[in-house]
């Protein structure tokens, strides 16, 4: 009986996700381009317009999730900051870390060691697979500076935000490619933009590497947020061109901690 069903399953499963003709030339062109530029091609693209999958709800959840997480992260961070300053005032008198020429971001904030290196690493490293639990350079420098849960709260909020932004931009680019824009994308961009600005104004955006990435991300999100459904394709392509020029997606992938 089981054998009969197995045969039936094999027979009927034959056209499960039946592959179309292989787009050899198109893929090879992009492989060559990516290899020449040394940048990774887009992976894990989630087409926003695939009819058989849900579209609206995840995008709405994305924004809500980001906002909630950010609020939680900042709340925890501030609470801990207050308690640390009350209990341990010596933190403020610790010697300032070495200043680096790249640490221009964060006016008034002391420059951090390794910030320049972390920024360069963020900008240049490929989106290689990072072992689970390994902290990316930008976040690692933050963790070194701030002990304990405070660092964790900010890093968590920043990591989650960058992860959500990466997923959103991947979706956005895919929808541009398929020529069908989802109006929800503009609202999501606005939500992400708000979160991005809050992070830029918080200690999460005090370090040069993070700040640079958040600023570039802000530009892209602002452009998307200003697009309307009536925007013509040239407007949309200006945004995607800006994304490509600034390597925003590869940099986000590099910065997002594994597991987020």
């Amino acid at each position: 009986m089981d054998d009969r069903i197995d045969d039936l399953i094999r027979e009927e499963a034959r056209d499960y996700n039946e592959p179309p003709a292989v787009p050899r030339a198109a893929m090879w062109e992009r492989i060559e381009m990516a290899r020449r530029s040394g940048a990774p091609v887009a992976a894990e693209v989630v087409p926003i317009t695939t009819a058989r999958r849900g579209r609206v709800a995840p995008l709405v959840r994305l924004g809500i999730g980001v906002a909630a997480l950010l609020a939680l992260g900042i709340g925890i961070g501030r609470k801990i900051e207050r308690s640390e300053s009350h209990v341990s005032p010596t933190v403020a008198t610790s010697p300032a870390p070495r200043t680096t020429p790249d640490s221009a971001g964060g006016a008034g904030a002391p420059a951090q060691p390794m910030i320049g290196d972390a920024g360069r690493e963020l900008a240049s490293s490929p989106s290689a697979v990072r072992p689970r639990g390994e902290v990316p350079a930008v976040l690692a420098s933050r963790t070194e500076r701030r002990p304990g849960a405070e660092a964790t709260a900010y890093d968590l909020a920043l990591g989650q935000h960058l992860g959500q932004a990466e997923t959103f931009l991947t979706l956005f680019r895919s929808s541009v490619r398929s020529g069908r824009m989802d109006p929800v994308a503009f609202a999501t961009a606005r939500q992400l933009l708000s979160t991005n600005r809050l992070l830029l104004d918080s200690r999460a955006g005090a370090e040069a590497g993070s700040r640079q990435l958040l600023q570039d991300l802000e530009l892209v999100l602002a452009q998307i947020a200003q697009l309307g459904t009536a925007s013509d394709s040239s407007d949309v392509h200006i945004v995607t061109d800006d994304m490509d020029r600034g390597d925003v997606l590869p940099r986000l992938r590099t910065a997002v901690p594994a597991g987020i």
Partner: protein, 177 residues
């Protein structure tokens, strides 16, 4: 030319050899990736990522398995990682225990056996689905699957067994009718 010769030429910087290697293996890689992803955009991206990684790591390829198997392992890793990300975002996957339920609860809405089967395959956990697709649909051996997924051949067989059991369960009342 055999794979070994092709690899040597690629490592020596012969660009035409890269294209030859790609042409020789892209169909099989694409079929597998598309079967898993079920979406052309995603499939193309995963295939591209597979070959970029493969060219980048080719010097590390020691020939312990066939080049096709090695490429398959990269492809399946890239694809599963990508689909995991999609799953987290879309929450479209259902738990293993729900695979059979899909068949039962949607019977009236989806009277077509094929539709129900495809839904049940979609609902399999990614690892089970990978083994089922690779073995029953794309003709990979358990040894190749084991190498690709980094498991023992026995694990591959066990996962195929469980995947089929879940699919049988999903279709049971259909078949007995």
């Amino acid at each position: 030319m055999d794979d070994r010769g092709l690899i040597t030429r690629v490592l020596a910087g012969d660009v035409s050899a890269e294209r030859e290697l790609y042409d020789a293996h892209v169909d099989r890689v694409f079929r597998l990736v598309y079967r898993m992803a079920g979406d052309l955009d995603q499939a193309q991206d995963y295939v591209q990522e597979t070959f970029i990684r493969a060219f980048g790591k080719l010097a590390d390829f020691r020939g312990e398995s066939a080049l096709a198997t090695w490429l398959g392992s990269i492809a399946i890793s890239v694809t599963l990682n990508g689909l995991r990300k999609v799953k987290r975002f879309r929450e479209r996957e259902v738990a293993l225990e729900d695979a059979a339920e899909i068949g039962r609860t949607t019977r009236e809405a989806e009277p077509d056996l094929k539709t129900r089967l495809h839904g049940a395959i979609d609902a399999l956990p990614p690892g089970y689905r990978a083994v089922f697709v690779m073995h029953d649909m794309e003709g990979y051996t358990h040894e190749e699957i084991a190498t690709s997924l980094g498991v023992q051949p026995g694990t591959s067989k066990a996962q195929l067994f469980r995947a089929r059991a879940k699919l049988r369960e999903a279709l049971a009342d259909f078949v007995t009718d």
